[in-house]
């Protein structure tokens, strides 16, 4: 293995890590701003111009708060919970292609940390690991509310993963690949998968809300019933780690949705722009487009959060098992039939 390759990957990982952190930090700011604007308020505006330093102030506050570990808790698991949540949420970014191959210093560099040929399976594995952070944290707290939150989180994630997987199967029937890079390449020039799989996308979107524990499916933390749910006992930076993990999850699931349904870094007129700007600057425009799409999705997540009230628990389970799973199966059947008929014609 040559040194240049290692340096290239190391740089890419570092940039991606910092970018993810920045996006997550500013998501907290954006969330408060969006919430404020949707409610006729102005939001944080004291720390720096337009309150832009607010995430730094919040982070500093989190660091300097008193850190309490309850005496009845299982200490190691109590620490492992938020660490795992944070770690797992970062893992997802590794397989997402953020742009076309870029030419730098005479080398062709893929803007993706690793293009494993089972990228979608990998994402699924990582996403289902995500619930362990919540479960372990909630259980280790030795608190009834935390435990309730953890149980809810676990059952919710398990229920919605099924529908999510089924909606992906229909997509795979269309695309014939599990690699994110290939999925993104296939959607070049308006062949976005959302056009072929609108129902699948809708199911995936609803499941993504459930998997990231966002409103209207934020039952694991449900302030009104569970006083914060699985993170009731957490304080200081462990609490911050959970919150951060939630925002990183939001970023990753937005990136996944953009990549597999909304054309990834592709945009109309891409070939023209690439021809005009060359192999170095052209792909960077693609990266910018990718991030714009991701930000649009993150805004959508927030917009929904401040519009739709929380589901009741039985309604949540009804929606998951009685609506989304049958719909996803129907979607697979219809897609399969259409593909067969179109192929024969």
């Amino acid at each position: 293995m040559e040194i240049a390759f290692l340096v290239e990957k190391l740089l890419l990982v570092t940039i991606l890590f910092v970018a993810t952190l920045t996006v997550a930090a500013y998501s907290t700011y954006a969330e408060r701003k969006v919430a404020a604007f949707l409610q006729d308020r102005v939001g944080p505006n004291r720390a720096g111009p337009f309150g832009l330093l607010q995430p730094l102030a919040d982070g500093g506050k989190m660091f300097f708060k008193e850190e309490i570990i309850p005496s009845g808790s299982n200490k190691w698991l109590f620490i492992a919970g938020p660490s795992l949540a944070l770690l797992v949420s970062f893992l997802g970014t590794a397989v997402i292609p953020f742009g076309q191959n870029i030419e730098l210093f005479g080398r062709v560099i893929p803007l993706q940390v690793t293009d494993i040929n089972v990228g979608i399976l990998y994402i699924f594995g990582v996403v289902s690991l995500g619930v362990y952070g919540i479960m372990i944290g909630g259980w280790a707290s030795n608190n009834k509310y935390s435990l309730m939150g953890a149980i809810r989180g676990a059952s919710q994630n398990i229920s919605y993963e099924i529908a999510m997987g089924l909606s992906i199967i229909a997509l795979l029937l269309v695309s014939n690949t599990l690699s994110f890079k290939e999925l993104a390449e296939q959607q070049h020039g308006w062949h976005w998968n959302i056009i072929y799989q609108p129902l699948g996308f809708l199911i995936f979107l609803v499941c993504a809300f459930a998997e990231t524990n966002r409103m209207p499916f934020d039952l694991p933390e449900c302030e009104t019933e569970l006083i914060g749910g699985y993170n009731t006992e957490y304080s200081a930076f462990k609490m911050g780690a959970y919150m951060f993990a939630e925002y990183i999850n939001m970023f990753v699931s937005s990136a996944v949705m953009v990549t597999i349904y909304f054309g990834g870094y592709n945009y109309p007129g891409m070939d023209l722009v690439n021809g005009a700007l060359g192999a170095t600057w052209g792909p960077l425009v693609g990266v910018a487009v990718m991030f714009l799409k991701i930000f649009a999705f993150i805004f959508f997540f927030m917009w929904v959060r401040w519009t739709v009230p929380r589901f009741r628990y039985d309604q949540l389970m009804d929606l998951g098992w009685k609506v989304l799973i049958p719909l996803a199966i129907a979607n697979i059947v219809i897609t399969a039939i259409v593909i067969t008929v179109v192929d024969k014609l």
């Binding site: 604007f37 949707l38 409610q39 006729d40 308020r41 102005v42 917009w303 929904v304 519009t307 739709v308």
Partner: protein, 174 residues
């Protein structure tokens, strides 16, 4: 049963139809409503710089009044402290000495007068109890602070400015 007032309304509990049951149209309508709110006028008052108008009977920080000659009205009778349901007021009385007639109106005055603003519930009973019209809750909002001891307001913060100083201040600004 027959409704006597005639105002009873029986709500019909119809089962939801298909479009209501799939939630999505309702959610999208709701999202449209929240989105339109982004462009509405913001209701925020930027508090320390901007203050909302107070109502006529607003009760804020206490002030101990002076009479028309600038003498303190309070005689330290303790009725305000007695009437206070939150036990926020305490005082030590002293007798007026020769040569202090221009400072205090009666022969007795409050040497120390303290209100604990953390205890005070701003009910205005002290104002009502005072026979000398010496205390009024006509000040601004009590500001926030860092230490509990700083919320115990003494005479330095409560007593009105003497007329001479007030006029000097006015002269300076005009």
């Amino acid at each position: 049963m027959e409704s006597l007032s005639g105002r009873k309304k029986v709500l019909e509990q119809k089962p939801m139809n298909f479009w209501e049951r799939i939630y999505l149209p309702a959610i999208f309508r709701g999202m449209g409503i929240t989105f339109m709110h982004m462009f509405k006028k913001k209701e925020t008052t930027f508090y320390p710089e901007q203050e909302r108008e107070f109502s006529e009977n607003w009760r804020g920080m206490h002030s101990l009044k002076r009479d028309e000659n600038g003498k303190e009205r309070c005689t330290a009778c303790g009725l305000c402290a007695l009437s206070c349901p939150a036990e926020a007021i305490t005082m030590i009385s002293a007798e007026r000495e020769k040569g202090e007639e221009h400072l205090y109106r009666e022969e007795k005055y409050a040497a120390v007068y303290e209100i604990n603003m953390l205890r005070c519930i701003f009910c205005g009973l002290c104002e009502e109890a005072c026979p000398k019209e010496a205390i009024y809750l006509d000040g601004p909002i009590v500001p926030a602070d860092y230490l509990r001891k700083d919320f115990i307001y003494g005479k330095d913060k409560l007593v009105e400015m003497p007329i001479s100083e007030l006029e000097a201040l006015k002269g300076a600004t005009v």
